[in-house]
């Protein structure tokens, strides 16, 4: 019984939140890794792209709610998500046409593109603030819990409850669907295959008649979809604030690099590695250990390795360790 209680406590406080957070990071990191693989630069505006997509989705959700449309027990934002993705698609395609295309034609070095993306980051940050302001916004509606801690306790008779938020379940399901779609697209369709070819060897791909403009456009559209989805899932699970999204850049980049930049599979693995290490290292383990250890050995303190404010430090430390021992990441990524 004690063992089961410990297991449930672990699932409730570490596994389920870590899984949801990992899925959000993984989708975010997929966007970063796609840009890196195809356009060959680290996109610093990615956090703000996520923020923009989420802001648009929130606006559309507001419209839907005003029209009296809801999604039953699920958050209405999911219905508004396609519209948010479309708006973000238009914006990133416009920015690519206006800004990035010039440097691509010039064959500018990647570091110049990174600085350009810093400029885009400033602009998008300003735009998001114009659109929606700087306040903290909660936009999750519908059923809050799939199963509450109390229901779980009554059902199983255990001391510990397992609460699963609807948003957590949605995150994992959506993330799974998105990943499956992406891999199907990259592996089975003609455009997807040409994108992979372009990423592997640009010259060879051009030689075999792949249209680079089309590949770039499709990449941006996929990135917009991924960024918006990641942003909306994160916002549903926690809340939306422009500045938090900007800060998400660090764990997302850590995830993409840990997995190996340019490798989609790596981005997913990296997302979960970063998320679970953040959660396990900043979790106070006392609640779990109480069940597992004999009474005499019960810990006095919280058994928290680091305070939660240091979660950046965790993702960063993992990043450094991986880079020092395996410079191309867990899955072999590219290096320009």
């Amino acid at each position: 019984m004690d063992f089961l209680n410990a297991l449930v406590a672990f699932a409730n406080f570490v596994f389920v939140p870590g899984l949801a957070y990992g899925a959000q990071l993984a989708i975010g990191a997929l966007g970063v890794t796609m840009i890196y693989g195809i356009l060959r630069f680290s996109n610093f505006a990615h956090g703000d792209t996520m923020a923009f997509g989420t802001a648009m989705t929130i606006k559309f959700t507001g419209l839907l709610l005003a029209a009296g449309i809801t999604f039953g027990p699920l958050p209405t934002a999911l219905l508004a998500l396609p519209a948010g993705i479309a708006a973000t698609c238009l914006l990133v395609l416009f920015i690519d046409w206006l800004v990035y295309q010039f440097y691509r034609d010039q064959k500018a070095s990647p570091v110049i593109l990174v600085i350009v993306s810093m400029g885009v980051m400033f602009v998008m940050n300003g735009v998001v603030r114009f659109v929606i302001g700087v306040r903290d916004i909660r936009f999750a509606d519908g059923e809050r819990f799939l199963i509450t801690a109390r229901e779980f306790k009554e059902m199983t008779g255990l001391n510990e409850g397992l609460a699963i938020k609807t948003t957590q379940a949605i995150t994992v399901v959506v993330a799974f669907v998105v990943m499956a779609l992406l891999f199907w697209f990259l592996n089975k369709t003609r455009t997807g295959k040409s994108m992979r070819a372009f990423s592997d060897n640009e010259d060879l791909a051009l030689l075999s008649g792949i249209n680079p403009d089309w590949v770039v456009k499709v990449t941006w559209m996929i990135v917009a979809a991924l960024a918006t989805t990641a942003g909306v899932l994160y916002g549903l699970d926690k809340s939306f604030k422009a500045f938090t999204y900007f800060q998400l850049l660090l764990p997302i980049f850590a995830a993409a690099i840990v997995g190996g930049l340019g490798s989609p599979l790596g981005a997913i693995a990296g997302g979960f590695v970063i998320a679970f290490s953040e959660v396990t290292i900043t979790y106070a383990w006392k609640k779990v250990l109480v069940y597992l250890m004999p009474e005499s050995l019960e810990p006095d303190g919280l058994v928290q390795l680091l305070s939660t404010d240091y979660k950046f430090a965790v993702s960063f430390a993992i990043l450094i360790i991986v880079l020092l021992f395996k410079p191309t990441g867990l899955f072999k990524g590219q290096s320009v």
């Binding site: 570091v111 600085i115 602009v123 660090l250």
Partner: protein, 433 residues
């Protein structure tokens, strides 16, 4: 245009802008802009050293600036003797235990081989971590319990505040050494992410380690290198002189202290600028640019690229640390909650790129000009929005939104400026020669 005419004209333009502010909005505002502009110029010099000379992509400027600020507290505030006796020694012992653990782990890494190495290193780290936490935490709790409303930290050394400026540089240099040792071997965008992360961690430490600098409770009332306005107003000699100049004593005293700061900052800027120019035109500077332009060729010529990179990374970060210490001195308080990457890292980058990377005068110009814009864009935007909205009905929601959005003009403008400069004048206003 001939650079010999163009460059002085550009500096004259900045002077006109600041003097214009003085005439339009009052001399206090103009001097505020000038003072922060001088500090920004120093930060830009530091980043220019790393990026312009050596091509190192450091986006952790905020962290070094914050460390400089911390140095101001550690040097100039009086020590809290109660806190020292409560747990100061224990904290020091804890830190020593932590450092010893890391040293031992590094030693084990070097000494042993194979599986034995992994086990011993991990063992040392895990045991060391718990020893460190046990010793350190007790000390922290004791220190933070000492009169938490006003102190709750160890305080500083009670030395003159001007000493904090070089010490801020040293502190930043120390951090840069640690970062450089681990991250400089990496590729450019990995270094970028690494520095971005380090900066966030430094801020997180400063926010949470209350025993060090009171965390988000802030340290206020830092000693100043210039006299206090209130003392000047009570000094009959000063009041007499102010009246003889036709100024009222209160305004005169605020101007006097601000001019005092401006002079101090100008001296520091000129010294650093002179040093940077000397470095740029020395064999060392040429070597740096050679490494930046072609690492492989420089390496073939027998230059130690990694060591040179480490060197210039430390120097540039130290300059940012000095600027950070100066800024905290000017503010008179340390507020870790206000350090934001957009303002302290990316804005400095805009300054360097707009001014002209690789040119020290360009960096200084960019620092002053962009700081002026950063401050003035908001009132300008508000004025513009008011004109735009003047045709609209008082109650219309669009009018409210337009006027509210003026507050967000800054970021947008900075981004647009950066993109325009990168597109149409990628080498900046004063290009590298």
């Amino acid at each position: 245009m001939n650079p010999a005419i163009k460059n002085p004209l550009l500096f004259a333009l900045v002077a006109v802008l600041i003097i214009g502010t003085g005439v339009m909005q009052g001399w206090n505002s103009a001097l505020l802009i000038l003072n922060m502009g001088l500090i920004s110029a120093i930060m830009a010099l530091g980043v220019n050293l790393q990026w312009g000379f050596a091509g190192l992509f450091n986006i952790g400027v905020m962290g070094f600036v914050a460390l400089g600020g911390l140095a101001t507290v550690l040097i100039s505030m009086p020590p809290v003797t109660e806190a020292w006796s409560a747990g100061g020694i224990q904290i020091i012992l804890g830190l020593i235990a932590g450092a010893a653990t890391i040293t031992a782990a590094v030693f084990a890494q070097r000494r042993f081989q194979g599986r034995k190495r992994t086990f011993i290193t991990l063992g040392v780290l895990i045991i060391g971590f718990f020893v460190y936490r046990a010793v350190f935490d007790a000390g922290v709790i004791a220190v933070e319990a000492v009169n938490p409303a006003v102190s709750g930290y160890l305080g500083g050394l009670g030395l003159p505040v001007l000493l904090a400026w070089p010490v801020g540089g040293l502190l930043a240099a120390g951090a840069a050494w640690i970062i450089g040792k681990t991250a400089l071997g990496l590729r450019s965008d990995y270094l970028a992410i690494a520095t971005l992360g380090i900066a966030e961690i430094i801020i997180a430490i400063m926010k949470n380690e209350d025993w060090l600098g009171r965390g988000v409770k802030n340290v206020i009332g830092l000693p100043r290198p210039v006299p206090y306005e209130i003392d000047l107003q009570q000094d009959p000699g000063f009041v007499e002189r102010a009246i003889s100049l036709g100024l009222d004593p209160v305004t005169a005293s605020t101007l006097y202290t601000k001019i005092g700061y401006a002079l101090l900052f100008t001296v520091v800027l000129l010294v650093l600028l002179w040093l940077a120019q000397k470095a740029l035109n020395s064999p060392w500077g040429r070597m740096m640019r050679a490494i930046r332009d072609n690492e492989v060729a420089a390496e073939a010529m027998g230059k130690d690229v990694t060591a040179r990179h480490l060197q210039i990374f430390i120097l540039g970060s130290a300059i940012c640390g000095i600027a950070g210490a100066m800024m905290t001195t000017l503010d008179g308080q340390l507020t870790p909650g206000t350090y934001q990457p957009l303002r302290f890292t990316f804005l400095v980058w805009v300054m360097v790129i707009v001014g002209g990377s690789g040119n020290n005068f360009g960096a200084v110009l960019g620092g002053m000009l962009i700081w002026f814009l950063w401050v003035q864009v908001e009132p300008l935007g508000l004025w513009l929005m008011n004109i735009l909205a003047s045709g609209l009905d008082e109650a219309s929601p669009l009018r409210g939104q337009l006027i509210e959005s003026a507050a967000h003009m800054r970021l947008l403008t900075m981004g647009v400026i950066l993109l325009l400069v990168l597109r149409f004048s990628p080498r900046g206003l004063i290009p590298e020669r």
